[in-house]
């Protein structure tokens, strides 16, 4: 319990630093928000008045404090670009899309990577192992826009199995939502699959050399059972760590996939907002992504205790 409280404190510290970094970076972004709002060709006094109204003339630290204190209450300000909606609302609309894509993509990658890696590791150096790793490097070297376009051509346009360029919210139609999300999730999965398989395979090969694997074999345990019950868990540290990092990263960076499939996710939202100089939206979105990142990785840290009992605190 104390450990979790300690972690929560750490988390807050990290978030504080991140928020400062985000604020500073966005402040350094080129472009004048007043121009972004009013458009060009107005008298300088009008711009100046608007800047004053937005609080842009206040000292930096004061502005940071204002932003942070309202962010803490969930108010991330208003978007500068019409329709000038609430930043929090915009993020709440885009975040579920991105999280769903990332989670589905990772799950698909995981479901494929685990058996592939186990097969590879069990027959390391064999023909199948070499084929799998060649295949993995092939998927790794195909850019995601190309893979995405191919999948759209084949499965959406050609075979008509999947709709394209639409998004159905999960609240409206769960089945339709999955149907729409599957193809983009596969594109994301392909990007992660090679790395997952490779990392797990290599860790498994190391684990399979352990004495306890030999001891399990000497008990007459079948090879597949040894792989699943003896080798997989001690081998999954790197994979779990990598998945945590991937999840945090994917939430904000599936821009290409979002554009390809016309999905209203975080990535495309941030790119558009940056282009328009909509700094409150960028600030808010980046802060939320940082929050997701930090929380996910804290969860990953806690999961090590499950993966390896030795890392748990000893209790009398």
């Amino acid at each position: 319990m104390r450990r979790i409280a300690w972690r929560a404190g750490e988390l807050l510290g990290v978030l504080f630093i991140v928020s400062f970094g985000v604020f500073m970076l966005v402040t350094l972004m080129p472009g004048d928000p007043a121009v972004a709002i009013l458009g060009e060709g107005h008298p300088p006094a009008e711009y100046e008045a608007l800047r004053h109204e937005l609080g842009l003339n206040d000292p930096l630290l004061i502005r940071y404090w204002d932003w942070l204190s309202s962010a803490a209450t969930g108010d991330l300000g208003r978007s500068l670009v019409p329709p000038q909606s609430d930043v929090s609302d915009r993020i709440l609309g885009a975040l579920p899309v991105s999280v769903q894509l990332a989670v589905m993509g990772l799950l698909i990658a995981l479901v494929l990577a685990v058996p592939l890696a186990m097969w590879s590791a069990a027959h390391a150096g064999g023909a199948v192992d070499r084929m799998i790793s060649a295949g993995m490097f092939a998927t790794l070297s195909v850019p995601s826009f190309l893979a995405g376009l191919l999948l759209i051509m084949i499965f959406a346009n050609g075979l008509g199995w999947f709709p394209r360029a639409q998004w159905v919210r999960i609240g409206e139609d769960p089945v339709g939502n999955l149907h729409h999300a599957l193809l983009p999730a596969i594109v994301i999965a392909l990007m992660e699959l090679a790395l997952f398989t490779r990392i797990l395979r290599n860790d498994l090969i190391v684990t399979l050399k352990e004495d306890y694997i030999l001891a399990a074999r000497a008990k007459g345990m079948p090879p597949w059972r040894i792989l699943v019950t003896d080798a997989l868990r001690p081998s999954s540290f790197s994979l779990v760590t990598l998945m945590g990092i991937s999840l945090g990263r994917l939430v904000g960076s599936t821009v290409i996939v979002e554009y390809l499939f016309a999905l209203p996710g975080m990535g495309s939202m941030i790119v558009t907002a940056s282009g328009q100089g909509d700094f409150p939206l960028v600030q808010g979105a980046v802060l939320v992504i940082a929050l997701v990142y930090v929380v996910v990785n804290a969860g990953i840290d806690l999961s090590y205790g499950y993966l390896d009992p030795r890392t748990r605190r000893v209790h009398a």
Binding site: A215, G220, P309
Partner: protein, 340 residues
């Protein structure tokens, strides 16, 4: 099947066993023509220096080391009448537990860190004996009691890292005994343990073996561990057995110069103070480039040209009519004992 088992008086019969590894650096004859047999309840010690092939022999006997791309096994191993190396993988696995079991050297690494003690014990019981979850659990607690682990119910829920080295080795032994094997191969079972715990573990193994009338092979480089706890002993050098007989006979009257030198290198409590401990000069042979003749010849005080050229075969050397055999052209006579 029944007929075959009736005929097999010996639990274990090993004939002309060779284990050859093809490594990038050359061909390694880790086990080079070993024959031995073991009856129910009998204990055989296999001693030798590191790299003499004793562990590989143990693993080849169980079939953990078997023919594959880089390993070639020839000769035969029969355990309870089953020709281990003629069986399929699957059939062999069915023998691992009920017929033959192994205790490994380092209990720190031979237990899975992420599995509870209970899982280590119950999984084999459920697999081989088809016990239900609850029966297997009861049986596992009983096994922990048999290896004298205090508070077994609590130990069951613990992870290996929560146990001491001696306790872990007891768990490893309980694991090996789970399915009542007829043959137990203990590969350096005490090497990784504290000296004070070594004796306890060895005595425990000996007690369990006699209680269950189980044939036991005790592999060790520690002659003290073997003396007094085994019926017979086989001394290995360069992948071969160079001398074997009743333990007492070998210890009292070694005929092979290597065995003699090995025995002379144990410090004895009865030795006079400041007695110089006799070590064996030179290093164990490089298994990749074994000499043509006797592999001990380069380190042997008595070696002649013949020793360097001609490989000695195992033959009766000492007292005629006993099972005391050695592989030496110029065996030590009992006289040597008295002189030294």
């Amino acid at each position: 099947m029944g007929h075959e088992e009736c005929q097999a008086v010996n639990i274990l019969e090993v004939n002309d066993l060779h284990t050859v590894f093809t490594t990038p650096r050359g061909v390694m004859r880790a086990v080079d023509g070993v024959a031995l047999s073991l009856r129910a309840g009998e204990t055989l010690g296999i001693v030798g220096e590191s790299g003499s092939g004793k562990s590989v022999l143990g693993r080849t006997i169980t079939g953990l080391i078997a023919d594959n791309a880089t390993t070639s096994v020839s000769g035969s191993v029969r355990i309870g009448g089953h020709d281990i190396h003629a069986l399929t993988q699957k059939a062999r696995r069915r023998l691992w537990g009920p017929e033959v079991a192994m205790v490994f050297q380092d209990p720190m690494t031979s237990l899975n860190p992420v599995k509870r003690v209970s899982t280590h014990l119950t999984e084999a019981l459920r697999l081989h004996l088809g016990l239900g979850r609850k029966d297997a659990y009861e049986r596992a607690i009983d096994l922990l009691r048999q290896v004298f682990i205090p508070d077994p119910t609590r130990r069951m829920t613990q992870y290996p890292h929560e146990l001491s080295g001696g306790m872990r080795q007891r768990v490893v032994i309980a694991m090996a005994l789970a399915c009542d094997p007829k043959l137990l191969i203990a590969d350096e079972p005490t090497t990784a343990l504290d000296v004070t715990v070594q004796r306890q573990i060895l005595d425990l193994l000996a007690a369990l073996a006699s209680e269950r009338n189980m044939a036991t092979i005790l592999i060790s480089h520690d002659l003290g561990a073997v003396e007094g706890r085994t019926d017979r002993v086989a001394v290995m050098y360069g992948g071969r057995i160079v001398e074997t007989s009743d333990t007492a006979r070998v210890f009292a009257n070694p005929v092979h110069p290597y065995a003699e030198a090995l025995l002379a290198s144990i410090p004895r409590i009865g030795d006079a103070p400041h007695t110089v401990l006799r070590a064996i000069e030179g290093a164990p042979p490089n298994m990749l480039t074994l000499p043509t003749g006797c592999s001990f010849a380069p380190r042997c005080r008595f070696a002649t040209d013949r020793c360097h050229e001609e490989q000695p075969e195992l033959r009766e050397l000492a007292d005629k009519g006993t099972t005391h055999v050695g592989a030496c052209h110029f065996p030590l006579l009992p006289v040597h004992q008295e002189v030294s």
